[in-house]
Symmetry: C2
Subunit: 386 residues, 2 copies
């Protein structure tokens, strides 16, 4: 059996329960990947991440190329050894980051010239280089280099970028040699159903071992996001894993699973945690609210994370109000554990064929405060427009 | 046997090995206490602190009085429960912090009026209040309220402050009622041997269960610090624990132990860690130096801490250069483990009566880079002068 084989175990409506076999262990799906762009999930050690129940994380080729450099990590025996993580790693190609973080990019069919957001130095990346970097990093799943567009871009512009993304996908596939690493394609097409369908059809002909959906959750209304997702997923092969990039609030994950997504990643759960926004089954709360200053109970009594098992909301409130570093870690632990528990419950409900009920119950009980999701989408959108 | 009994087990020259019995466990001495001013040792959970080998930490009444407030912590069942730490806690009275952190203080025989360094609000503290606050916090060791002076202050000024400190010590002792808490006196007297002796003589007549030495390591040359320490320690009762406040570099700890000190605390080891300055048996190194960018070995191959067991110096260098939060924690873990190992070795050498050799070997092998110790002393001194 090849590394990165995907087993589809059960469906419940369009929702799927499966497992992704990698050279660094089996990942039960649907799965959420914590984001460790710079070879670290912020505030957490590899032991912590394992303890929270995660088997797979995401790292970013763009960040690691700029710092410490791909060659440094290769010399250290690859990314797993460098960051002491023996679970699975998916690396993003750098496509999205070049378009959202790097100023002064020039794009041609050959590749992208961009400036480092760290020191302004100029760099050039091609599909072949993006694959080569990820092979040196030694991630379990690599992503093709794609050209990203923004919400609001014209159909012509989106179509051009999509077509270039298809050419690049083919070049990536040709350049890719590493047998213990899977290379996933990225479906683009912006907010145009016709282009989304075209992109899915075109890329599935290339027979990648997995398919990602890019360019969503970049500022568009949620209905549009879900509609585009629906258009795309139905055209993807059933026996391959499907990865919805950059999506990860509890409610979006549930909606994604309902449409047939297997893998998610998002910096939101860890970023909002560091702002004191914490997930509960009743919705997101902000630990900085005055009510928590004297609350002698865990912030989420239903939660089994270290933070909730050990500390009162009052203590967590104190740490946040005092600007204490431990607050960032305790909040990260909570949100990631909350999401891991959510993924486990989702998976169980699919295996029991009760996902539809689970989804209804969850979303009806979940009061979407959502102002920070919107802020985050706006942030992503603004950075894409730059 | 009363809580906070001290057993002197062995001496080796003037160095002492003992144990401090508290309501929250036994603390082998000589001991270093990590500083957790705001009810948290920065970046670490209580589990981490225990795992590093510590049985006792320091917290600050001044900080906790301002935020979250003594009453909040009392309502949460006291400081141990609030911060989920079941080891011993020593609370500083707030004396030093009022003089080093709070602007616009007015001092009278009755007490000190000061402004919060957080919001500028005005507060008044007396010896009786300082004891009452610490009784509410429920620390295992409380400290008397003292008046602090700065390096360079006139003998007259230092003498006046010392005499007020003595009056306040008596008032603290009278106000103190909690039987499971020990109240320690603080010897002052600045850089004047005669005053140091007078302070030690006066306070030992009051029969406190422990004696601290305050007002050192505030910017004076190291020789003067050690001379003042020597003058003071010999006059303290042999059967009581001796606590050198605010001192904690490896070499200063060894020099303190050599003169008969049992307990130390200092924010320096954790603060310099967060700047990338890490202890090794060969001296302090800075992980930001270029040499570590590609070093495929632990920063200290002799160290058994999680950081050194798990990561290369190159990875730690990457985290620091990338401004990653995990760097602060991994460095803190290393420095605190280094110091805990040092305390263990010191204690063993005293029990084996080989401390003099140990000290010589250690200090000869230890190249004191020391520029940051000096920076830290200057910082403390400057803040005291404000």
């Amino acid at each position: 059996m090849p590394a990165n084989h995907f087993n589809l175990l059960k469906t419940s409506g369009s929702a799927r329960a499966g497992e992704l076999l990698t050279a660094h262990g089996t990942v039960p799906t649907p799965a959420f990947m914590p984001v460790g762009s710079q070879a670290t999930v912020k505030t957490l050690t590899p032991d912590d991440i394992k303890g929270l129940g995660y088997n797979m994380i995401l790292a970013n080729t763009y960040h690691l190329y700029l710092r410490p450099g791909i060659d440094v990590i290769e010399k250290m025996g690859g990314l797993h050894r460098f960051m002491a993580w023996d679970g699975a790693i998916l690396t993003d190609s750098g496509g999205y980051q070049v378009f959202s973080l790097a100023p002064l990019r020039k794009i041609s069919d050959e590749g992208v010239t961009f400036r480092s957001h760290i020191d302004g130095s100029e760099h050039f990346i091609t599909p072949e280089l993006a694959v080569g970097y990820q092979e040196k990093l030694g991630s379990d799943v690599a992503m093709v280099l794609d050209e990203c567009t923004a919400y609001g871009d014209s159909k012509e512009k989106v179509q051009q970028a999509m077509e270039r993304t298809h050419c690049w996908a083919e070049r990536c596939l040709k350049a890719h040699t590493r047998k213990d690493q899977a290379l996933y394609a990225i479906v683009q097409g912006g907010m145009f159903p016709e282009l989304r369908r075209k992109s899915a059809e075109c890329l599935t002909q290339l027979d990648f071992p997995g398919y990602a959906i890019g360019g969503l959750s970049v500022g568009e209304p949620k209905e549009i996001m879900l509609a585009m997702l629906g258009e795309t997923v139905v055209l993807l092969p059933k026996d391959k894993p499907r990865y919805l990039m950059g999506v990860g609030s509890p409610e979006d994950i549930i909606q994604g699973v309902a449409r047939g997504i297997d893998i998610f990643d998002c910096a939101l759960p860890t970023r909002v945690a560091r702002n004191g926004a914490l997930y509960t089954a009743q919705g997101r709360i902000n630990i900085r609210n005055a009510v928590y200053k004297t609350m002698d109970a865990p912030l989420d009594p239903d939660c089994d994370c270290y933070t909730c098992r050990t500390f009162s909301a009052a203590y967590l409130s104190h740490l946040f109000r005092s600007g204490e570093l431990l607050s960032l870690r305790l909040a990260t632990v909570h949100n990631l554990r909350f999401l891991n528990n959510l993924m486990r419950k989702i998976r169980e409900s699919i295996l029991n064929d009760t996902f539809i009920t689970f989804r209804e119950d969850y979303l009806s009980g979940y009061e979407t405060t959502d102002e920070e999701t919107r802020v985050e989408q706006k942030r992503r959108w603004l950075s894409t427009r730059r």
